[in-house]
C-alpha cells in the first residue's frame, strides 16, 4: 500500500503559495474542505484563483478567504448569498468567471481523465460562449470548453484511509470526486480516517490513486445554509 497519510493540515498544505490556482469541492457549504480553508486563511496566501461551484457565505467557507482579500479570481457557477463577494465583484476588486455548473464539473473531470477539452451544448448562444470555438454535431451546436489546470485540489470526504481511498456521504459528494486527481496535488480531508482494510473495496467512491495527501480534519462545523423542516402531524 502506498501511504498518503499526513499528520496535520499544515503538512497537507505544504507547497501552497500566493498566485496559485486551487480547486475546492463542495456545493454551498455542504462538503467543503473546512480545515484546508481555515489553514489557508492562517497561511495568508494571496492572489489566488479559486475554482469552486460557490463562494461560501460571508463568514464561512470561501467567504473566509474573500474577507481577507486572498482571492483574485473566482471561477464558479453560482455566487448568490454572499454580500462581500457581491461588493468585491461589482467594485471590480474581484475577477469573476461564471460558467455553467455542468461545465464546471466536466472541466474538472476532463482534467482528471486526461481530456484537453470537451464539447458541451450548455451556454451556446449566450455570453458564456463568446470567444470560444463552437461546432455543430448532428444539427446541434456545442461550445468547446477546456480542462482546468490547477495547482491544488482541496476535497472533503466522509471517510478515508491511508491509501487515499475516499467515501462520501449524501449530497456532500458533489464536486469532490470530480476534482480528485484534477490538480497537480490533491489534498483530501476526511471526517474519519479509518485503518486500511476497513473500507470495503466495493464501496469506495474514489480510489487512492487520485489522492496525494490525506488527513483527518480536526473539527467540522458542517453548517446548514437553509434549514428547512416539516412539522410532525
Amino acid at each position: 500500500m502506498i501511504n498518503k497519510k499526513v499528520d496535520s493540515v499544515q503538512e497537507a498544505l505544504q507547497g501552497v503559495s500566493s498566485n496559485m490556482t486551487f480547486m475546492f469541492g463542495g456545493f454551498g457549504l455542504s462538503g467543503i474542505a473546512e480545515n484546508a480553508i481555515a489553514e489557508l486563511v492562517e497561511i495568508g496566501v494571496k492572489g489566488l484563483t479559486c475554482i469552486s461551484n460557490n463562494a461560501g457565505v460571508d463568514d464561512f467557507g470561501l467567504g473566509l478567504l474573500l474577507q481577507q482579500k486572498q482571492i483574485n479570481k473566482m471561477v464558479s457557477s453560482y455566487v448568490g448569498e454572499n454580500e462581500e463577494f457581491e461588493r468585491q465583484m461589482l467594485s471590480g476588486e474581484l475577477d469573476v468567471e461564471l460558467i455553467p455548473q455542468g461545465t464546471l464539473a466536466e472541466r474538472c473531470r476532463a482534467a482528471q481523465a486526461g481530456f484537453p477539452a470537451i464539447y458541451t451544448p450548455a451556454g451556446f448562444g449566450t455570453e458564456v460562449a463568446i470567444g470560444k470555438e463552437t461546432r455543430e454535431f448532428d444539427g446541434k451546436m456545442y461550445v468547446l470548453e477546456h480542462a482546468f489546470k490547477a495547482d491544488f485540489a482541496f476535497v472533503k470526504a466522509w471517510k478515508g484511509d491511508a491509501a487515499g481511498n475516499l467515501v462520501f456521504k449524501g449530497s456532500a459528494r458533489n464536486f469532490n470526486p470530480n476534482m480528485c486527481g484534477a490538480a497537480k496535488i490533491t489534498v483530501a480531508e476526511v471526517e474519519e480516517l479509518v485503518p486500511v482494510g476497513i473500507l470495503d473495496p466495493n464501496h469506495i467512491h474514489i480510489p487512492g490513486i487520485f489522492v496525494n495527501r490525506i488527513f483527518q480534519g480536526e473539527h467540522y462545523e458542517k453548517r446548514i445554509e437553509q434549514r428547512t423542516v416539516r412539522q410532525r402531524d
Binding site: 455542504s30 457557477s77 448568490g80 465583484m89 455542468g102 459528494r173 458542517k222 445554509e225 434549514r227 416539516r230
Partner: protein
C-alpha cells in the same frame, strides 16, 4: 389570476407517470406539492440527488443531505447520491424527462434569460444553462409581468440569455402558452382572466386561435 401555488398546481398537471423531473428554485419547487399521488415520479436535484423526498422533521436535518437550493431534505426509498459530473450526465444526456424553471424573461422564439441583470444582480447560472441547453421538455414557471408591471414575454430578451430557442411551454399567473415558430400561442386562461388581459400583458407576438378555455385546476 393565479398565485405562485396556483401556477405550481397547473404545472403539476404536466408531470406524467414515470417521469424524472428537475425542479428549479422558486415556484418550480412548489410543483412537488401538487403532483398526483397515484403516479410514480422521481425528483432530481442537480447537486447530486435522485429520489428527493420532503423536508426532514425538526431535529432530523442533515448538513450532508441538501437540494440545489441548499435546503435540508430527505430521500425516498430507491434514492441515490452521485457526483456533479454524473448529475449533469443525467441532464445533458437527456435522461431527465422534464425541467421546470423560473425566468426573468422569455422571448417569442423560446430564448430564456434568468441569471443576470448587468450592473445590478449577478448570482450566476448554476445549472440552468446545462438544463435549458439539453432538456427536450422545458416548462417555465413565472409571473406574466415583472414588479414594474412590464411584460416578461417579449419579442426579444433584453437581459443576457441563459439559452436560445429552448422553452416549449410557459405557465404564468395569467395563462398557459406554447412557444411556436410563430410566437406565443395562447392555450389556456387563468380563472377570471380575459384574453384581453393576457394580450395587454404580453409584449411578444401572441397567437389567439378560437375560444381559449379556462384552466381546469
Amino acid at each position: 389570476m393565479l398565485d405562485k401555488n396556483g401556477i405550481a398546481k397547473r404545472i403539476a398537471q404536466e408531470v406524467q407517470d414515470g417521469y424524472y423531473v428537475n425542479l428549479g428554485i422558486g415556484i418550480p419547487t412548489l410543483v412537488a406539492n401538487y403532483v398526483r399521488n397515484d403516479i410514480e415520479v422521481d425528483f432530481q436535484s442537480e447537486n447530486g440527488v435522485l429520489g428527493m423526498g420532503p423536508f426532514p422533521f425538526e431535529g432530523e436535518e442533515d448538513a450532508d443531505i441538501i437540494n440545489a437550493g441548499k435546503q435540508t431534505i430527505t430521500t425516498l426509498p430507491g434514492a441515490s447520491f452521485f457526483d456533479s459530473a454524473m448529475s449533469f450526465s443525467m441532464i445533458r444526456g437527456q435522461h431527465v424527462d422534464l425541467t421546470i424553471l423560473g425566468a426573468m424573461e422569455v422571448s417569442e422564439n423560446g430564448d430564456i434569460a434568468n441569471w443576470k441583470i448587468p450592473g445590478k444582480m449577478v448570482k450566476g447560472m448554476g445549472g440552468a444553462m446545462d438544463l435549458v441547453a439539453s432538456a427536450e421538455n422545458i416548462i417555465v414557471a413565472m409571473m406574466h409581468t415583472n414588479r414594474a408591471g412590464e411584460s416578461k414575454l417579449l419579442k426579444r430578451c433584453s437581459l443576457p440569455l441563459t439559452g436560445v430557442g429552448c422553452v416549449k411551454k410557459i405557465v404564468t399567473n395569467l395563462a398557459v402558452l406554447e412557444v411556436t415558430n410563430d410566437g406565443f400561442k395562447l392555450l389556456e386562461r387563468a380563472p377570471n382572466v380575459s384574453v384581453e388581459d393576457i394580450k395587454n400583458a404580453t409584449q411578444g407576438h401572441l397567437i389567439v386561435e378560437g375560444d381559449i378555455p379556462e384552466m381546469n385546476l
